[in-house]
Subunit: 214 residues, 2 copies
DNA sequence: GTCTATATCTAGATAGAC
DNA sequence: GTCTATCTAGATATAGAC
C-alpha cells in the first residue's frame, strides 16, 4: 500500500507548502519534514523537486481541461456561465502557486512552457466560444477589433485575479469570496456589450452574489 | 569618480539581468561578472543582493509617482490620457522584473510589501480620479457598483499586461508595441461607459495606434 | 575602491543499510 | 519503501592584501 500513499502524501504536502510559501521558497527537506518522511524517501518517489512541480501542474491541467471544454455550439445561460467560472477559479485557487510565478515556471521547465501556452490557448478559445454563443442568439454585439481586445482583457482576469487578490492580502480563498469577486470582474467586462435583457440578467446575477459576501 | 560610477554600473547591470533572467535566477557573482568587477567589489557597494533589488524598486517608484500624480480636478483629454498611460507602461517595461514576482517580492522584503501596496493604492486612486474627471464633464456614466468592478479590472491590466505579454513571448517591449496594446486594453475597458462623442474619440484613438503596429 | 581568496551555509540529490 | 548519513554544487557574504 505504502507506495501510492506516500507519493500522494508528498504531492499534497508540496501543494500546500507551495501555495503557502511559494514554490521557490520550499525545500525538499521542508516537504519531507512536513510530510513526516525522510528526505531520502522523498527522492525515492520523485527524481527531483521539479518533478513534483510538473506532476502537480499535470494534475491541474487534467482537472481544468474538462471545465474549459466548451464546444462551439454551447448554449450556456448566465447561471451556467457563472457555475463554469466558479469551477475554474476554484481549481485555480487550489493550485494558486502556479499562477504566481508563471514566467519563472516557464523558464525553468520547457515542458511547462509549452503546456502553459497550450492551456492559455484553450482558455482563450473557450472564452471566444462563449462570446460566439452569446452573439449567435443575439445577446451580444461587438465588432471584431473590440472583440480581440475584450478577449485579452478577459484572459487577464482569468489568469491574474487570484494572484492579484493574494497581493492585496484579501482573505476568502477558502470560503469562495475571492472566487465570487473574480467572476464578477470577468462578467463585468462582458456586460456592457450585452443586449438589454441579458444585460439586466447578468447585472442582477453579479449584484446578488456580491451582496452575499461577508 | 569611481564610487558613484561603479554603484550605477552595478544597478544597471542588475536591472538588465533581472529583466532577462528573473531576479531569483541572477546571482551576485553573475552580476559582478557581467559588470566586469569582482564579487568583493559588488559587496563593497551593496550590503546584500536584496539591497540592490530594493534600490531598483525605489528608483522605479520615484519615477512612477509623478506620472500617477493626478489631482482630483485633472482634465485630461483622450490624447493626454494615452500619453500618460504610455509613460507608465514604458517605465513598467523597463522594470518589468518587478511585476513578474510580486508575491515573492512582497514576502521576501517587508519594506517592499508596504511600498507595493502603497503604490497600488495610489495607482487605483489615480485611475479613480481619471474616471471622476470624465464623469464630471458628462463624458462617462457608470453606477457605483460597476465602477468598483471596473477599477479592479483596470488595475489588473495596469499591473499584469506586461508579464502577460512576456509569457506569450510577445516581442515589442523595446519598440513600444507591447505598450500600445496594453494601453488599448486599458482604454477598451472604459470605452463602453463613455458618452457617444467621447466613445468615438477613444475608439478612433485605439484603432489608429493599433493600426500602426508592425 | 578594488581585488583574490575563502568562509559559511544551504539546497538538491545520492549511497547504502535496514 | 524507508531511513540515516553524506556528497556536491553553488550562492551569499566576508577578510585582508593592494
Amino acid at each position: 500500500m505504502a507506495k501510492r500513499n506516500t507519493r500522494e502524501l508528498i504531492l499534497e504536502t508540496s501543494l500546500a507548502l507551495f501555495n503557502d510559501l511559494g514554490e521557490q521558497n520550499v525545500t525538499t527537506n521542508l516537504i519531507a519534514d512536513e510530510a513526516d518522511i525522510s528526505p531520502g524517501n522523498l527522492y525515492y518517489h520523485f527524481r527531483s523537486k521539479n518533478d513534483i512541480t510538473i506532476e502537480l501542474f499535470k494534475r491541474f491541467i487534467v482537472q481544468l481541461e474538462p471545465i474549459l471544454d466548451v464546444s462551439d455550439d454551447s448554449n450556456l445561460d448566465a447561471e451556467d456561465l457563472w457555475f463554469q467560472l466558479h469551477l475554474s477559479f476554484e481549481l485555480k485557487g487550489k493550485y494558486r502557486f502556479l499562477y504566481r510565478n508563471l514566467t519563472d515556471l516557464s523558464q525553468k521547465v520547457p515542458a511547462l512552457d509549452r503546456a502553459l501556452k497550450g492551456l492559455f490557448n484553450r482558455e482563450r478559445r473557450a472564452a471566444s466560444f462563449q462570446l460566439a454563443a452569446l452573439e449567435k442568439r443575439g445577446s451580444l454585439k461587438i465588432d471584431r477589433g473590440q472583440r480581440e481586445l475584450l478577449l485579452n482583457n478577459l484572459m487577464l482576469a482569468l489568469i491574474y485575479w487570484i494572484p492579484y487578490a493574494e497581493i492585496l492580502d484579501e482573505q476568502g480563498l477558502e470560503d469562495g469570496n475571492i472566487q465570487v469577486r473574480a467572476i464578477a470582474g470577468v462578467l463585468q467586462m462582458v456586460i456592457p456589450y450585452l443586449a438589454s435583457a441579458e444585460r439586466r440578467e447578468f447585472e442582477h446575477l453579479v449584484k446578488t452574489y456580491l451582496a452575499h459576501l461577508n
